[in-house]
Symmetry: C2
Subunit: 678 residues, 2 copies
């Protein structure tokens, strides 16, 4: 009698599975190569009819994995049955190649056999192994499936009738009843393996003894959901099912009536059944010990070329490039957390909405470094157009942006950022920031009011504001608005070979008890900001700096923001004392120190740490100024723009000046002659 031949499983990996693996590796697994549970699934055997010849073409006997395969509670798609597996991802291609596949395989079959002989359940009969190596830089995934299957010795044989269509022996009515009953019951209880007795009733294999207690052997049928559609070869699951039957019920091996269940579609089945029935048998085990002795197993999947070897999925050409870019950028960032700083809260940085006032040298470099940190919402403001000298120093512009008068800088920078990374949400606004010392003529008041409103809205809609302009006075208005609205302010300014990078302190009314209030950009001034732009010579209009300075200052400003965001006290973090031991990370956060002000000196390649206290007469952040702004709004701003005495009066700087003058007058300038010749 012929030996039963089985149609082996073929693995089918959905591309989304690899995407999910990528996320899993970056977010969860990281460097772990521990084996993890995984769920695959298979469906009933499928065949299609060749439209030309009318012949049936049997499709592969697939075990699929998809993105949901990693989720423990995932349900297989409708009509599909789960298969449990173990998945192991290696860290290097060398590890993958050198993996001890025999040990892995034995471990899995041992587990399966244990499950069969100890708990006697069928849930592990469809176990599989998947080993992978994911080259996430190139989107190449190396993998190898094994579908362990116990070798029957002696082999099972099928009787001379072979695998008959299941309805051949039945009347139409009986067949119809059998079909619809099994179908309905499998829908209610999706059993990959089941018992059928006349009636038609089905039950799990595990209830064999009781379910078949009074059923004549000829009416006992053992069914399984068959992924094969081959007329002669039942699918792989039957192989382990037979091994199970032989181990648990050795007496049954004389004759087993098997139903290869292949009819998911009732109307189609009524026209022509696909399920098949056959009688199989083998010699019973010699004794009880032989029955439960683990048989050998086979099952590493062969390549389509018939070789026992791993396969590779190269997703790069078929992946959506935008998605690839998103994942790649994410990967680089998550590697920091994964390998270096598990406490790093990347989302806190990447979700910080950043407003960049100034899209020049500093603005472009700040935008680039923010992109490097994964910041997704970046808005730029500038009033200028791209000029010919810009592209070599401002790394978001190209030559073509300068011609025909130049594109607006902010919009152009935002557009270029999208070309760099399509996932970015970058916007540019052409806007002139009103400045003290630059009076607003009556005809322009409406425009100024609109500009202020726009600036207020932009600041309101962001979390961190970078002051990256090229004049002192243009920083005043955003300083006041940000202080009022409690925004994070990062300020960067360039000299020829020196830079200032600082964070503004929180406003006085928000300072925590016992904390010192840190100053803003204007806290050292004893005069209000005034016009420094009119009547500038060419060299003053261009920012004359050593070319490397801006990128250093810009990246320092972004890294200071990152350090502040990662500090448990955030913007309230105390500044490290300026003269502390450099190696002592006093008051450091996850990323390190959070200085108040940094002065960089390129002539010495050194940075100086400065702590500047807030000044209660400051024209930028004192409560008098912020409250006047909060109460009077644009009217207050207009006064500050038009009346160069206004801010000094408001803060009391004018009195200070008068007192100082008076003090000078009262000085007795007569000096005692001490006999020294000068």
């Amino acid at each position: 009698m012929p030996i039963v031949q089985f149609a082996p499983f073929a693995s089918l990996v959905q591309p989304a599975f690899w995407h999910e693996l990528t996320s899993l590796k970056i977010d969860v697994l990281r460097l772990s190569d521990e084996a993890l549970p995984i769920t695959g699934y298979y469906t009933l055997g499928r065949s299609i009819t060749d439209r030309e010849t009318g012949s049936e073409i049997v499709l592969g006997c697939n075990l699929s994995v998809g993105p949901e395969s990693f989720h423990k509670s995932s349900q297989p798609p409708s009509g599909a049955f789960p298969a449990k597996g173990h998945f192991k991802n290696f860290n290097t291609i060398e590890d993958f190649k050198a993996a001890d596949k025999t040990a892995l395989f034995n471990q899995e079959t041992e587990r399966m056999w244990e499950s069969i002989v100890t708990t006697r359940d069928t849930s592990s009969l469809n176990s599989f192994i998947l080993i992978t190596y994911a080259d996430l830089k190139k989107y190449k995934y190396y993998y190898w499936f094994a579908f362990p299957s116990f070798v029957a010795k002696p082999a099972w044989e099928i009787d001379e009738l072979g695998w008959k269509l299941a309805n051949e022996d039945l009347s139409h009515d009986s067949a119809c009843f059998l079909l619809t009953s099994i179908h309905a019951q499998l829908r209610a209880t999706p059993l990959p393996f089941f018992l059928v007795r006349a009636g038609v009733e089905i039950a799990p294999i595990e209830s064999y003894a009781s379910f078949f207690a009074n059923v004549p052997p000829a009416e006992q049928t053992i069914g399984f959901v068959d992924p094969s559609a081959s007329p002669t070869n039942p699918g792989w699951p039957l192989r382990n099912l037979l091994a199970y039957m032989r181990a648990i019920y050795p007496a049954t091996t004389g004759e087993l009536r098997i139903l290869c269940w292949r009819d998911a579609d009732v109307p189609a089945a009524l026209a022509g059944w696909k399920s098949r029935v056959g009688i199989v048998h083998t010699a019973p085990p010699a004794d009880a010990a032989a029955a439960v002795a683990r048989p050998s197993a086979v099952g590493w999947e062969k390549t389509p070329q018939g070789k026992l070897a791993p396969r590779v999925a190269d997703l790069a050409p078929m992946m959506d490039p935008v998605r690839l870019a998103n994942q790649a950028v994410d990967l680089n960032l998550k590697l920091m957390r994964w390998r270096i700083l598990p406490a790093l809260d990347l989302e806190k940085i990447s979700t910080t909405r950043c407003l960049l006032l100034g899209a020049g040298t500093l603005g472009c470099y700040v935008a680039r470094t923010l992109m490097g940190w994964g910041v997704r919402d970046i808005t730029l403001v500038d009033s200028g157009k791209v000029s010919f000298s810009n592209p070599v120093r401002q790394p978001l512009f190209e030559f073509e942006d300068c011609v025909n008068g130049g594109k607006p800088k902010a919009e152009c920078a935002a557009a270029r950022m999208k070309k760099i990374f399509p996932g970015i949400n970058a916007t540019g606004h052409t806007l002139s920031i009103p400045m003290p010392g630059h009076p607003v003529p009556p005809t322009s008041v409406a425009q100024a009011k609109e500009d202020v409103k726009k600036l207020e809205e932009l600041i309101e809609g962001h979390d961190a504001v970078f002051l990256l302009m090229d004049s002192r006075e243009s920083r005043w208005l955003p300083t006041v608005i940000c202080a009022a609205k409690g925004k994070i302010v990062l300020n960067a300014a360039l000299g020829f070979d020196t830079f200032l990078v600082m964070r503004h302190g929180v406003r006085a009314s928000a300072v925590r008890p016992d904390a010192k209030q840190l100053g803003c950009y204007y806290c050292n001034d004893i005069v209000a900001p005034a016009d420094s732009l009119t009547d500038r010579t060419l060299d003053e209009m261009c920012t004359v700096t050593r070319p490397g300075l801006a990128s250093i200052a810009a990246s320092t400003a972004v890294e200071l923001l990152a350090s502040v965001l990662q500090h448990p006290d955030g913007l309230h973090a105390a500044a490290p004392p300026p003269n502390s031991d450099p190696s002592a990370l006093v008051g450091a956060g996850v990323l390190g120190l959070v200085p108040h002000q940094l002065r960089g000196f390129l002539a010495q390649f050194r940075n100086l740490h400065i702590v500047g206290a807030a000044y209660n007469r400051c024209t930028g952040c004192s409560e008098a100024v912020i409250k006047a702004y909060e109460t009077e709004g644009f009217d207050m701003i207009l006064q500050a723009l038009n009346d160069d005495k206004y801010l000094q009066k408001l803060t009391g700087l004018d009195k200070l000046y008068e007192e100082g003058q008076k003090a000078l007058e009262d000085v007795d300038w007569d000096v005692e002659d001490d006999g020294v010749d000068f």
Copy 2:
């Protein structure tokens, strides 16, 4: 009798004049607004014949300035006559507008009158003034010409015959003789003003007394090169010529025979003369004092709309954008020298040919900062392709460079640099640098030999080499070649939040007497560089760094190169002692300190200065290694690549190790029990 009416000069500025002014301002004038001599020129009056009506159209009476106008020894174009002027460029538009034009004008007319009455020469009769303000950021040039002209009181009158064509009174032969004689003599001696007496002879105005001594008044003619072609209005130069005659020869004012010389083209003149003759006269001055009293003057040029106002030349739309970009980039750089550091030798930096080994994060940022310094020759080498994670961190790539497998990085970076600045000479080479610890299989030896040759050629063809790779061992081969060829080496390497930037010292045999030899990248190692790449996990393949780190390190490396190049001792400059007072610029060059090694710590926002001495057993720069390379060439390299003991043997590191091991063996490990419990 009718008063003589003059056709005034109209200024004609060639666009090249403004280009020249731009260079002059940036290279020479800088912030100076001193008045400078300038030369304009004018030609004989020109008219054209309307092809439809046949009537003559008189062209403008132009005084032109061109690029040569600034050069003292410049010759006017053939057929043109020079006019001397004074040129004054203001630094700001406000200064330009507020200029005391009356004072400027009076100063010029005073000078002209002095020249007339004192030296009695005619050379300053065509003087002019040009004031300008050049907005070099926008390529807008504001300017105003004045052609000072003395007002005759009473005015000169022309007799009833008016301005007759010069040949009307003459026979054809006489006219022909007059024409060809004057023409020939003016070609030999280009006099803008001249005397003619029968004969036909001409002479300078200055020889009036002697030349006309025995000539009857009716045969005395005073000629001038007339820029006007108007039948009724002689050109502007006549106005000051008449003022001259009245001041110097008051007696002649009763009647002067004037030749308005307009016939440059002899054949054309024979067909129809254009020169005109007229008899002018005025009342003689009351006395000698009245004769030499400076008359009032007029002459600020009116706009084409007839307003007394400055004009503006907007060159941006008409200029070649590539040229504009070149000038603009130059300008920004030269401003540094002009305003901050007159000793800065920009050319020394911009002519340094730079080779960047690695076109990743560091390579892109280094390339950008070099462009900012005006470096024109930049070559990149990389073996990789642009991947999806690159653009947000590597500022020469865009998303589109990653798709379809990615463009080759080096070539792509070079192409992008040209898009940023068309004037750059950027080239990219895809090349794998052979590395110790990565043996070359026999089948790849030919390729490795070719790669080494290519690398040697590239290093040979450059002045400074940046090592910007992402592995330790890939820096070995260029370290050796550069040491042998005496190239400047800048080395930058990144950790997570720390960086190293260093310059390699010169090789031992090139160290100056009494100088200390500084080390290279390998001088601290006691093992040879080996394979660190194989079997790396994902996190090790990606450089995991804080996103702001690379731009800081890259710009620091470029600025260190700039500082070295500007140091009088260049690469031989001693490194500042690591613990010196930060404010003391010990051994500083024009741009400041030239440290040997800088270690940056982003967690502290600090840089540490390190001085590392060269090690005579160094596998990178010791004489043993360099000499073996110089002697054996590729064979030596191949040994170093294939035999991981070779470099240690060559340098004696192996013996050192053995001695160390032996020393350990000889140690008596028995320790006296000193009664302490651990």
